[in-house]
Symmetry: C2
Subunit: 401 residues, 2 copies
Amino acid sequence: MTGVTLDRDQCLALDAADPLRKFKDEFVLPEGVIYLVGNSLGAPPRRAAERLRRTVEDEWGRHLVGGWNHAGWYEQPLAAGDRIAPLIGAGPGQVVVGNSTSIAVFQAVAAALKLRPERRVIVSDTRNFPTDHYMVQGLASLLGGYELRDLSEGFDGAAVVLLSEVDYRTGARQDVPAVTAEAHAAGALIVWDLCHSVGAMEVDVSGADFAVGCTYKYLNAGPGAPAFLYVHPRHQAAAENVLSGWYGHAEPFAFETGYRPAEGVRRFAVSTPHVLSFAALEAALDVWERVPMAQVRAKSMALGELFVELVGDRLELASPADPAARGSQVSLRHPDGYPVMRALIDRGVHGDFRAPDVLRFGFAPLYIGYADVYDAATTLLDVLDKELWRDDRYTTRLAVT
Amino acid sequence: MTGVTLDRDQCLALDAADPLRKFKDEFVLPEGVIYLVGNSLGAPPRRAAERLRRTVEDEWGRHLVGGWNHAGWYEQPLAAGDRIAPLIGAGPGQVVVGNSTSIAVFQAVAAALKLRPERRVIVSDTRNFPTDHYMVQGLASLLGGYELRDLSEGFDGAAVVLLSEVDYRTGARQDVPAVTAEAHAAGALIVWDLCHSVGAMEVDVSGADFAVGCTYKYLNAGPGAPAFLYVHPRHQAAAENVLSGWYGHAEPFAFETGYRPAEGVRRFAVSTPHVLSFAALEAALDVWERVPMAQVRAKSMALGELFVELVGDRLELASPADPAARGSQVSLRHPDGYPVMRALIDRGVHGDFRAPDVLRFGFAPLYIGYADVYDAATTLLDVLDKELWRDDRYTTRLAVT
């Protein structure tokens, strides 16, 4: 971007030349919708429905309980982990999939605390998604004797630091290698939450101790899809999974009374995988294995910058102005953000709202194009200029904002 | 049953008169398979595939992230809980669904320990499925200072007792109200694992403190389907969810930094529900709401008893001889149980094997009939009499037994 804002024809020309354009056909979106909420729930992969039908009818229906052996269900947590690994700079045998991000946060932080038994401080960051705090608060309350400290107070004396690569609210991006090095220099371990970066950019947690993330945002694996947990190889022999369920046992089918952890990252598997939810994840990963992530990041920055330029100074930017310092979302502030967003959605432009005043727009480069961004921005300006949001229909709060 | 074993025609006559016979059409089973593993993974409900298609295409595909409001996803953990409640003797607002049985065990036992802070003993039972032990071992290791004690040592001084209504290996059934009263008399709280009883019989945990269970066995909700957690109303105000994720927060969408538990059982929801896995659960519960459970139990006992009579003294019975003292499974012992079971499966009779020597046969009364049991038993006797299991094909161990 040059600072000279493009017109709609120029956007269409960029779409025509976009090397990622072919991926749009891999996803299903309703007619007339510009979907800028892929940072919250990704669009359905075109093959997800068929993949689920196959799992229900051909796998469960035909193999029944034999699906654990004959349909690959038993291996899902590690097999999916190995497919996610390249997306976060990890290698095979370093990522396990299952459960939820909240559970993975609990596992990672608890394991880190056991690796730093002489320290009693947990550092979190108000920019983390709230569930990260909540899980750490629950863990600290369970253990007793730990101090929860905000990132603003620094890393000194910290056993573990829990940070997010991309802020869910503003899209602000942290420098993972640099912050990891700072945490390590202070003697702390670090857990990265990748929920808002994985699938949106090249992620590299290979220097970090643990990482967690969800698969239903940019990765498009469906509502409530399983989460992932990365454990650095240097910790795999010593790290303990306090949620020591049978799926992480060295020999689950020996049915022993005593827990013996499996070798490697498998010990962080807790329980029987949610096979049907894994099916949609597999359909999504079939797409991701063909995606050049450098192109995703380049397009993501270009889309965000186009949006910012088109909106101009009409709304305050809650995100960093430098696209390299953002994830794949742009957040704007408006004191009546809730009805503004409802009015916008009513006109086919889907973003979301985060209290108290943030409008979020996510740009998933696999299915969002330049002309989409152009149309989204002009619709937003129209809603603002004509005050279309001043309508009682738009003020009633829904359960989920 | 009278002790006079039925012939096949008599079994067919019983099937023709069976009031539950109509439910067989609600499930899909492959031609030529007698499926006696419904105690491990239930058969697919006929409408599960369509229900999943609807969730992917009509809900996720049409509403996108709006599915949280417009497709009922947000309410799934409590809505499904209210539908499971009648199956376990609970009322509305007492059951929450999500995660896995292992996670639910951790939540329930941790909550019970916090309610009995003056006690330091956790009682478990070698008849529990191993993951129950493992989760308690992980919890105790995390907390420090707790003693794990076997049920054989009694309830004295116990903070919490973790028992299973039906033993996964032998099918032996415990008397829930009587054992609950004993635990309470000793000042302990009790957590019941209902994995092997829910959907197989009338369950009543209304006197217990907590209960957990899975939905993929007799309830037929699919591989790795979400688990449930029951919390007695008398504990709901004080019980803490140590896995305090955002879904159990009083106002998840206020995005507060501090955790404030929701009122009631909702606080035990941890994280974003696995929506696709819930879809199959909902298809299964559509069947269960029409099932008369007293008829299920009566038929279940009759099927088990028929099987035991047909097998006679050919194999040692690992289950209690009294059908009222069993769940809906019959377990037999054979020193070469593994190849015997493989040979049986090869002949269309599906049971499973549990080390070291147990053959398990589950009788799910909604889709198993008297003639099925007759054919299963005669095939088993044939495999034994002709030593058909002495074949190298049957000794190779699969990953999942």
